[in-house]
């Protein structure tokens, strides 16, 4: 049972990371390779604001999504908005550019912060007793933040013009443009929001796993697995996939063998692809 609790808590954050990728894939039909770098940026933003201002961690962590959102907005405005004047497809162009952005951000972080681990103060230093397991409250804060962020995104999608524009772009990009939705603007806001979600994940996990220039690499890889399990572009699928990956990995380590802890998520992905090649909740993509 302890393994399930730990798995669910980590899985919620995996889901949060994948949520941003799912949103982006739904709206822009592409993948942001800089998603892991935005995760790292969120962690560093939390560390810097916390050290520079001394404000409580619960406030300092808000810098994480703000910084990642702002950088995401800038990246889109400066690098992704101008369409390439060549035969390269736009989706491929985004992949290449965001890969380059990752390299720049990781090296920039090394230059600015050094390769050392940085750890912001705990958001909630208490211990939470679940069953006979005492876990740091930061894990629960991370999981609760993931749930809240997912709920907020659902509200935006349902009840705001921006959300409706994203849904329209996801369902029919040409039709959406015809009825007056600004494609560039919808893409930019979706890209920045996805980056912001990665930033949130990086911020809330920083007290648990610390930040270093490459700290976004492993979460990015897990996010891709989660995305495939849940179904490309499906937000509910991203959350479900995250929880499944967290629980299966944790149970596998505790009850099967820790020697294979790297592969449980991939085995799960292969199993899902065999049973439901499009992912667990792909249909949700079309209806949100």
């Amino acid at each position: 049972m302890q393994a399930v609790v730990v798995g669910l808590l980590m899985g919620a954050v995996y889901g949060l990371m994948a949520l941003g990728l799912a949103l982006l894939f739904g709206v822009m039909r592409t993948i942001n390779f800089a998603h892991g770098a935005m995760f790292t940026l969120g962690g560093y933003a939390f560390v810097v604001v916390s050290e520079a201002t001394g404000v409580p961690s619960a406030l300092a962590v808000l810098a994480a999504p703000v910084a990642a959102f702002a950088v995401g907005w800038l990246v889109h405005a400066s690098l992704l908005s101008p369409r390439p004047d060549s035969n390269v497809r736009y989706t491929d162009y985004v992949l290449i550019v965001t890969f380059a952005v990752t390299i720049v951000m990781v090296n920039g972080a090394t230059i600015v912060f050094g390769p050392q681990f940085r750890r912001p103060p705990s958001i909630s230093p208490e211990t939470v007793q679940v069953l006979d397991l005492a876990l740091g409250a930061d894990r629960f804060v991370a999981a609760a933040t993931a749930v809240l962020a997912a709920a907020a995104l659902w509200v935006v999608l349902r009840y705001t013009f921006t959300g409706r524009a994203w849904r329209a772009m996801a369902q029919n990009p040409i039709g959406a443009t015809v009825v007056g939705i600004d494609e560039k603007r919808a893409h930019r806001s979706a890209f920045a929001t996805a980056c912001g979600l990665a930033g949130v994940a990086g911020g809330v996990l920083a007290p648990l796993t610390s930040v270093f220039p490459n700290s976004g690499v492993t979460p990015l890889l897990i996010s891709f697995v989660v995305l495939v399990i849940g179904g490309l572009g499906s937000m509910a699928g991203a959350l479900l996939g995250g929880l499944l990956v967290g629980v299966v990995t944790s149970l596998g380590v505790v009850y099967v063998s820790s020697a294979y802890s790297d592969i449980y998520a991939y085995v799960l992905m292969l199993a899902v692809l065999l049973i439901r090649p499009a992912g667990l909740l792909t249909r949700a993509t079309r209806t949100y």
């Binding site: 610390s210 505790v254 790297d262």
Partner: protein, 408 residues
């Protein structure tokens, strides 16, 4: 001219150029490896360093290594040691085995026939085929996998520890002492999935079975080397029956520091004592990550907090202009090993130099340097002192650490 014919001509020309380049490189590497001419009446050692000088390699240790070798070369050439050292180059492998391999290849092409480096076993493992093929010398300091030295690699020596000696001369004596003096009967091991982690795990499991009292329970868990969350593995350790009273952490990468707060988080510590398998708590970001939970963590060190007091260590401190860590001292000793042996042999010819290193015995910065030639510890040093130390307060430096146990 038809385009097909033109293409064929271009292909033939390209093949000729590549073949000429390959032949040239091979000739140069071969020359450098076997028949390096002596300058004047003393031999000239063509030395090179390949180590991690930037991220994601362990650049802090690599930089220390490089600085120590540079200081060793400068000191050697400024003193009458009977050998001249030409430092062919110091190359950064960035922690990437492929980059390390390319760097060694390039340096061999430039005439290097002796190497000092590399930081990790995986990196050293990657360059070994080139070392063997070119009969170059490689003196290791911080690569600990047992397989790196052995009769299959006759020109490879190690001045630092090997996994097996770390287990038998460092960790096991301490665990035995805990079992005898405090009745510890359950041991947990958290090992990263790497040449170092798995190698040390195997050595420890064998040693515990042979040396600890019968009935001592051992439970081990392995985690991916790139992981930053080892709570599932720590939960599994905590759930073992009987619960471990000591948990040895065999790690070199990201989770080495993180495992400490996470062990507290899952309730494994402080009931279980945490034992770091090398002196990483004396480095960089330990306190940043572990915080006050790092107080009381015990770790294996290779010198006492007073630091090594050999005459050679004093020479090194003067040459470097500052006190150095054990990692830098191993690099200095590696450089000095090659220089001393070349001076003894009066040549850098391969067989003579190998024989001279095997017969070498001198007081280095880290103590007596001599190498075994028996198969089980072939070309490894024996008698490296090991200690168990810990910090009594947060943010303490190594000089302030407390000596807990002297493993001999």
């Amino acid at each position: 001219m038809s385009s097909t014919r033109q293409n064929r001509l271009w292909s033939a020309a390209t093949i000729l150029v590549v073949a000429a380049l390959v032949a040239g490189c091979g000739e140069s590497a071969g020359d450098g490896a076997t028949t390096v001419p002596a300058e004047g009446d003393q031999p000239e050692l063509k030395l090179a360093v390949v180590t991690s000088l930037s991220e994601p390699g362990v650049f802090e240790l690599g930089t220390e290594q490089a600085d120590a070798v540079q200081a060793c070369v400068d000191w050697n050439n400024a003193n009458d040691t009977g050998v001249t050292i030409d430092l062919v180059g110091i190359e950064d492998d960035r922690g990437d085995p492929a980059v390390a391999r390319a760097a060694v290849n390039r340096l061999i092409g430039e005439g290097a026939h002796a190497f000092v480096g590399d930081i990790t076993s995986a990196l050293s493992e990657a360059v070994l085929p080139l070392i063997d093929e070119n009969e170059a010398f490689f003196v290791l300091g911080t690569s600990w996998a047992d397989e790196l030295t052995g009769p299959d690699h006759p020109t490879v020596f190690r001045v630092g520890v090997a996994n097996s000696s770390l287990a038998t001369d460092g960790v096991l004596p301490y665990l035995t002492d805990l079992a005898e003096s405090e009745g510890v009967s359950s041991i947990g091991i958290l090992a990263e999935d790497s040449s170092f982690g798995r190698g040390l795990l195997t050595a420890l499991e064998q040693g515990i079975e042979e040396r600890l009292p019968e009935g001592t329970a051992v439970h081990s868990e392995i985690y991916p080397a790139n992981s930053t969350d080892v709570t599932p593995q720590l939960l599994a350790l905590g759930g073992a029956s009987p619960t471990p009273e000591v948990v040895a952490i065999l790690a070199a990468s990201a989770a080495r520091n993180l495992a400490i707060p996470q062990a507290f988080e899952v309730g494994l510590a402080p009931d279980a004592e945490l034992l770091a398998s090398w002196d990483w708590p004396t480095y960089g970001d330990f306190w940043e990550v572990a915080g006050d939970r790092g107080v009381g963590v015990r770790f294996v060190a290779f010198e006492t907090p007073e630091r090594s007091a050999t005459a050679e260590a004093a020479v090194m401190t003067e040459a470097l202009g500052e006190e150095s860590s054990i990692w830098a001292k191993w690099a200095w000793d590696a450089c000095r090993t090659l220089a001393e042996a070349a001076a003894d042999a009066g040549t850098v010819e391969r067989e003579a130099l190998q024989a001279a290193i095997e017969e070498l015995s001198f007081e280095g910065a880290t103590g007596l340097i001599d190498f075994a030639t028996e198969d089980d510890r072939y070309h490894d040093r024996s008698g490296i002192p090991m200690y168990i130390v810990s910090f009594g307060e947060e943010n303490a430096a190594f000089a302030d650490a407390e000596l807990v146990y002297s493993a001999g």
